[in-house]
Symmetry: C2
Subunit: 518 residues, 2 copies
């Protein structure tokens, strides 16, 4: 058994059975080994950012890591932005990065570079596999590291000769540490805060955004009069009719400050204290009001569910009585197609059990409201702010959940970073309905230009935020990658095209031509 | 004057007047400053890999750096592969990477990451600008570092508050060290080697690939009976009718070894001793034959031209008598469209003064031969092996040389990494004719699969190298970005479409449907 075979068999033994890849010559033995270990589902991407984003989407839905296979430093570089998003969202990912043969590195050949320094940007676990006999053990360590807690990106660098040499050994899974429940002291402190009569809020994020955990948080909030808030960009939140309603903290610091205004206690449940996405001149980065005390019930390595359960017990709150969202869809809109009517149509038509990968940006602003009362579904956000996530995450979610409809709510600018994801949707026959809101603009930057106080901005600056001239034609772009695509310019068109796309097996793109809301 | 204005004015003062960008919120003051410093030509890219590859192409043609503007760590990551190519090709590039405001970094907001560790992969000069008053000086240092020698990627990290605060000061250019001429001892040693009667070769690369320098090398080879060879992937070589003919060392180590067979002396002129691109089991990585002595006339910081001139003087060789390439074009081909007939048509039609950005990979194998006797032109190669370079480099070359025709010789797999470059070609009205050879395969990997000895490869492995299912339609993809495009399936079609494209102002794509040569 060579190193590559031992590696793949170890991944399978550790529960990692899906690999999103864009390989090169140094990874050919890994690729060749796929025929000897058919349990590994290998998914080809035409660009590494698609592979890494798909691994992120897969991990969010499967709650276990996918592997990636990337080609040396440049391949890792191409995948870095979506690994950044995975890191910020605590998604477990096992990155396999091929390297030159150990004895070849001294020659500084064309593709030689310092892989480890690139990996460090996104990975807490980095290992350069130095012996074929140890590749299996290295892979098991990488999987354990990826599980965390918290979930993380673990990078294993695999030199070509370590991969092709005989003497590989399969490793059994290695244990990952358990998550810890809040201490009695923490429960007492937080119970006191919530019973103090002072304004308080629970802020949930990460692992706390699943239904049964949210129900505990909701019950605690109901029992104590505390607000229940969710982080701005949860990796995955279970929501919709029959589930617990929760408001996300607004992206715009001005609105977030209003949500947090007057609070004296903020209880963090696998969430960070809210800070501004960017800094703005003369505006605070720290959003909690002065004097607001921050309490941590569960940090990133904590067990949000058991900690909330202990807190609920201490407060006598029962999740059975938590307030639930009623089924309430918007009417199908008519007339002009706008960001708002796109979102209304989505709310009207969203199928039960759908997974929404949301990179709608400014055009998606109304989506959360319009879908709040739709049948139960999962919502996946842009965790790390690196755009180009939406389509790859949709790919990974669909691979993880082949029986569910995935909807990518996309914007034109973001779609163009990793549009190659559409090709993989066809290759794998994924049931992904992609909505691309085309407003011809980096609209969020047009808004930010004013917010950062860049008063001198004139036509030369604004041209850098304008992505017309030439117009992007997403129908042609999708068709170029084999995807059925249509374009809507009225709400009626869009309703009909979206309904048809959602009822059609395999991938479809619906381009929605909308005005910018900015 | 704020930091951004001081930065841009310093860049202009240092001769850097072009910036390829994909900005975000943290770069908005740089963008806003474009209206106050109109001498800076800003070029928008829809993906960072286009911006960095364009800076590489620009630097190769302009012999001075362009700037890039990238958005924090993820933006730099997206641009890393083409910065790797620039690093390997010694192209001067000034990378400006925006960062969060200095006081905002402590909050670990969504886009916070370790930018410096990513930059280290490609940059020998990295500076995090800490004071607005020093941004100008930092920029001048970055430009000087980019010039080298050798040319390099210099990265300046620009925190948002350093950019927006008042107190910026424009800096004058800082001197870059001069290149050094070979010592008398080196000249003596090499003169002795070339006069020894033992088989010898000159190996030129980098800065030695310009016409007047090549003529010196050719004269020395002619005078001494030495071979004249060129590195496999020169960043830019001046060639064609009336210029000095020189054979490039083959990509395949087997063929390269044949070119080097029997040599006892190899004289390096801004080139590295040849090594295999990848390692292969039981094959040597070091390609010079055993016992071949390596002599360095000029290293990467050396002055190739003055060193060759001194060597020519010592040997009594005159560039005036150097052998020159005759004008000799292939006939326009007919019949089946293949990689070979595509290259023949290119040789038949290549306009004088053209610039060819060559990422044809296996389909481009015949291009060097078919164009050797075409009118004088520049040829740009894939310096670092990170594919996705060809189209962005064509963008940068066309921006640097608006009066010349640029031809991107592309392959399907490579084109898909940075296809967004087509959009910038339209936006800027660039005279770029793109030929995309579509063989539906990562053909080079199909070849490499056998060469690395991956015998176990079966259908599951081969599916990872097959990029049909679905077929890519480059006409639709190009049209989706506003580019006029046609598809050729016969040689006659291709001749006619290529001739028309070359005669048409602005960008055109010609998709050539060809069988894989592998």
């Amino acid at each position: 058994m060579n190193g590559a075979q031992a590696l793949i068999r170890t991944l399978i033994a550790c529960g990692v059975d899906t690999c999103f890849m864009n390989p090169g010559t140094s990874e050919m033995h890994f690729v060749a080994a796929l025929d000897t270990v058919p349990d590994m589902h290998s998914v080809l991407a035409l660009f590494e950012g698609v592979a890494t984003g798909a691994a992120d989407g897969y991990g969010r839905l499967a709650d276990r890591p996918a592997a990636t296979l990337l080609h040396l430093g440049p391949g890792l570089g191409n995948g870095l932005a979506n690994l950044h998003n995975a890191r910020k969202g605590h998604t477990p990912v096992v990155n396999i990065v091929g390297d030159h043969a150990t004895y070849h590195k001294q020659y500084d050949a064309q593709l030689e570079s310092d892989i480890e320094t690139v990996a460090r940007n996104v990975s807490s676990f980095i290992r350069w596999s130095a012996k074929t006999a140890e590749v299996g053990g290295d892979a098991a360590d990488a999987v354990a590291a990826a599980y965390g807690p918290p979930g993380q990106v673990a990078t294993l660098v695999l030199p070509a000769d370590i991969s092709w040499s005989d003497g590989g050994e399969v490793s059994a899974p290695k244990p990952a540490p358990s998550r810890t429940t809040a201490s009695d002291d923490a429960i007492r402190e937080i119970t006191g805060a919530l019973r103090s009569g002072e304004p308080a809020a629970l802020l949930v994020g990460g692992t706390a955004c699943r239904e049964s955990t949210l129900a505990l948080a909701r019950a605690i909030a109901d029992a104590t009069g505390a607000k229940l808030l969710c982080e701005t960009f949860p990796a995955r939140i279970e929501r919709g009719a029959g589930r617990v309603p929760v408001d996300r903290i607004a992206y715009l610091a001005e609105f977030a400050s209003m949500q947090l205004d007057g609070l004296r206690h903020l209880v963090l449940v696998d969430a960070k204290a809210p800070v501004s996405f960017f800094a703005y001149p003369d505006k605070a980065s720290w959003l909690a009001p002065a004097g607001c005390e921050i309490h941590t019930l569960a940090g990133p390595t904590g067990d949000a569910r058991s900690s909330l359960s202990a807190l609920a017990d201490a407060l006598g709150a029962s999740p059975a009585t938590a307030a639930r969202q009623q089924l309430a869809r918007p009417e199908l809109p008519d007339g002009a197609l706008t960001a708002q009517t796109v979102c209304a149509a989505l709310g009207a038509l969203l199928p039960e059990g759908a997974i929404v990968s949301d990179e709608g940006n400014t055009s998606g602003l109304f989506a959360a409201g319009a879908t709040a009362g739709a049948p139960p579904h999962d919502w996946l956000c842009l965790t790390g702010g690196a755009i180009g996530q939406g389509l790859p995450v949709a790919v990974g979610a669909a691979v993880a959940c082949p029986d569910r409809r995935v909807i990518a709510l996309e914007s034109d600018g973001s779609a163009m970073y990793t549009l190659q994801a559409l090709w993989t949707m066809v290759r794998e026959g994924l049931d992904v309905t992609t909505i691309i809101c085309n407003n011809g603009s980096y609209a969020v930057l047009n808004m930010e230009l004013g917010r950062v106080g860049a008063e001198g901005a004139g036509p030369r600056a604004k041209a850098m935020l304008d992505i017309r001239r030439p117009d992007l034609d997403f129908v042609a772009l999708a068709q170029g990658m084999g995807v059925t695509a249509t374009r809507a310019t009225t709400a009626e068109d869009f309703n009909e095209q979206l309904a048809r796309a959602l009822a059609t097996p395999g991938p479809t793109v619906v381009e929605a031509v909308v005005p910018s809301i900015v």
